[in-house]
């Protein structure tokens, strides 16, 4: 009897999340691999929600009134951008170079 292929309604998407500068210090972590599960297509906003749910520094630093920018695979991205398995998503505080 042929086996049914394994399928799931919600694909599991795994992304590399990178925390830079002030955010790295606040989280005590330079980055991690994050598995996003759930219905619907994951976006940058899904990642932010997942992290903010941890509370503490996470909810404080990622509160809606905090200026944080996002990059997907080294390009600035909006919160609505869809993320795919293997993407690198960076959280960037406002830049202060020059």
């Amino acid at each position: 009897m042929a086996r049914m292929p394994e399928t799931s309604l919600s694909a599991r998407v795994s992304v590399r999340v990178v925390y830079l500068a002030r955010l790295r210090d606040a989280f005590g972590n330079s980055g991690e691999t994050l598995a996003l599960e759930g219905n619907g297509t994951p976006t940058v906003a899904s990642i932010i929600d997942t992290l903010r749910d941890r509370g503490g520094a996470w909810s404080h630093e990622l509160a809606p009134d905090r200026a944080v920018r996002f990059a997907v695979n080294h390009r600035l991205a909006q919160r609505t951008q869809v993320v795919a398995d293997g993407d690198e998503v960076a959280l960037l505080p406002p830049v202060t170079g020059g």
Binding site: A21, R22, V95
Partner: protein
């Protein structure tokens, strides 16, 4: 068009000589050097650490220089930005632009710096006598970048 992110210091004389070498249509060279101050927001600064996001930072600088080339009639441009630990008086950044005439060179140089300040992923952490702090972004930098 050259962009470099490096820990090492740079020699502005040598860099500009190389930038203009071999192009006799250059009539103007404008440059900007940013340096580390020993005071910020009324605090004594003993040094800075500059952080970047490898890969994205270089790409962002390349895009800024490409945009300058689209907007201004420039011949060549160079951006060098240092990373790592720096002391007061140290050079941080060099922007140099060549063109036929000075107006274009001045404008393009200022444009590249204004966009670099607000778009290139670099972050400064200041060392003070009693600890460290991340530098906050300035609204005046956003206003300067929005002029263009």
């Amino acid at each position: 068009m050259t962009v470099r992110v490096q820990a090492a210091d740079f020699d502005i004389g040598a860099e500009i000589a190389q930038l203009r070498e071999g192009d006799r249509s250059v009539g103007a060279i404008a440059s900007f050097i940013g340096t580390v101050r020993d005071v910020n927001d009324a605090s004594t600064i003993t040094g800075l650490t500059l952080e970047h996001y490898p890969g994205m930072t270089e790409a962002a600088l390349e895009e800024i220089v490409a945009e300058a080339r689209r907007r201004f009639d420039i011949l060549d441009a160079l951006v060098i930005h240092r990373i790592g630990a720096l002391a007061p008086g140290d050079q941080i950044v060099l922007v140099a632009v060549t063109s036929a005439h000075r107006g274009t060179a001045f404008e393009a140089c200022e444009f590249v710096m204004d966009w670099l300040k607000t778009r290139a992923p670099f972050w400064k952490k200041e060392r003070l006598p009693d600890g460290e702090r991340w530098v906050e972004a300035r609204a005046s930098d956003d206003e300067a970048a929005q002029r263009w």
